[in-house]
Symmetry: C2
Subunit: 220 residues, 2 copies
């Protein structure tokens, strides 16, 4: 299913080159970039792209010395135009990107992009998928009356938040929660599991069996 993952072999001698795409403030980028500075981190972030000119995430990228790139989305509202997808893929390819991490990227990616990074695009979603896919998952959870929320790191496939799950973390929903407090609690969890999932993936320690992701035991 994901033969492309075999390039991330345990004991790779180079850092895996990661590109990040986002549309917002860039809090998950900051978590990934801080983790990338830790000793022995198996990945480095080499480029950050945004469909929003002047988005916070581009400024955060610059703070970390990472190249920020504005990627004009074209005239669609919820996805990129095919030419814009091809352009985005080309920019990342030229930066040597091997894995793409979406961090609050608010457009659906189609095959012009996903085909260029098949099985190498991951995302973080603010719910315990398959519950509450789509927008404002924390608000959906509150409106439903759920008592447990969380976040999910998953591979991006053709569906909306349907790809194979790499990692999840649960957080409680309190009776006193507002959208703001619950979203903040979920984001705290995101900042824990996103860097860790990317670390395991780029270490070559995520094994796929169909749509099941397992933490591979290192072979000695």
């Amino acid at each position: 299913m994901h033969p492309e993952l075999s390039i991330f072999t345990s004991g790779s001698t180079h850092k895996i080159r990661v590109g990040v795409l986002g549309s917002g403030k860039g809090s998950n980028l900051v978590a990934l970039a801080e983790a990338a500075r830790l000793p022995k981190c198996p990945y480095e972030i080499v480029v950050v792209g945004s469909d929003v000119e002047n988005a916070g995430i581009l400024h955060r990228a610059a703070d970390f010395g990472i190249t920020p790139v504005y990627l004009p989305p074209g005239r669609y509202r919820t996805k990129l135009e095919p030419e814009a997808e091809q352009h985005a893929a080309r920019v990342l390819r030229e930066a040597g990107v091997e894995v793409v991490a979406l961090a609050g990227f608010m457009r659906i990616l189609k095959n012009d992009f996903l085909g260029a990074f098949a099985g190498r695009v991951i995302n973080i979603h603010p719910s315990l998928l398959p519950a509450f896919p789509g927008l404002q998952a924390w608000k959906q959870a509150l409106d439903y009356g759920a008592k447990v929320a969380g976040c999910t790191v998953h591979f991006v496939d053709q569906g909306i938040d349907t790809g194979a799950i790499i990692m999840q973390m649960a957080v409680p929903i309190e009776d006193t929660d507002t959208e703001t407090t619950l979203h903040a609690r979920i984001q705290d969890a995101e900042r824990i599991i996103y860097p860790e999932a990317l670390r395991l993936l780029t270490l070559g320690q995520i094994e796929m069996q169909g749509r099941l992701c397992r933490h591979a035991v290192a072979k000695g």
Copy 2:
């Protein structure tokens, strides 16, 4: 929405009379019945019904000195015949039942029963709803590749596992889990939250706002 719940006022002088319906071994009945023996427990279980003649849950009921009743389901496979529903409701009513707790009851209840106990039927489901409604939720979670599972205590409404959520508890899914080990871990969580949810409900400490259940703060 649930005016019927107002009978469970804080400081009720009698124990709320609970009827339990189940089709299987009765592990959740045991958890509820053990909790009912604790000092100051606000509920007592007065009757246990099963659509399965000789089901384990009927024997467990007898172990606790609770009246076991076989409730012939009629000729349907996934629900009770209307006459069977009416009969079940009558049996529970005659036992003075005020709240019905489903514990592994494998038939869908319709209006002949739910109407008789409007807003007073609760269930425990082995997933973090709205994820994985329906049968064998633990297997659904494993097959999906989820990393977090759990269980949900909820009110029973006309839908399948769609009612207002009273309590949820998350448990991890391990890479080494089988259906058996995951189901056992979820059942451990069920045995924690089901008695506690029933305790809060029968204490009059669950407040409804639309489909949202909140833990009411005791008024002094």
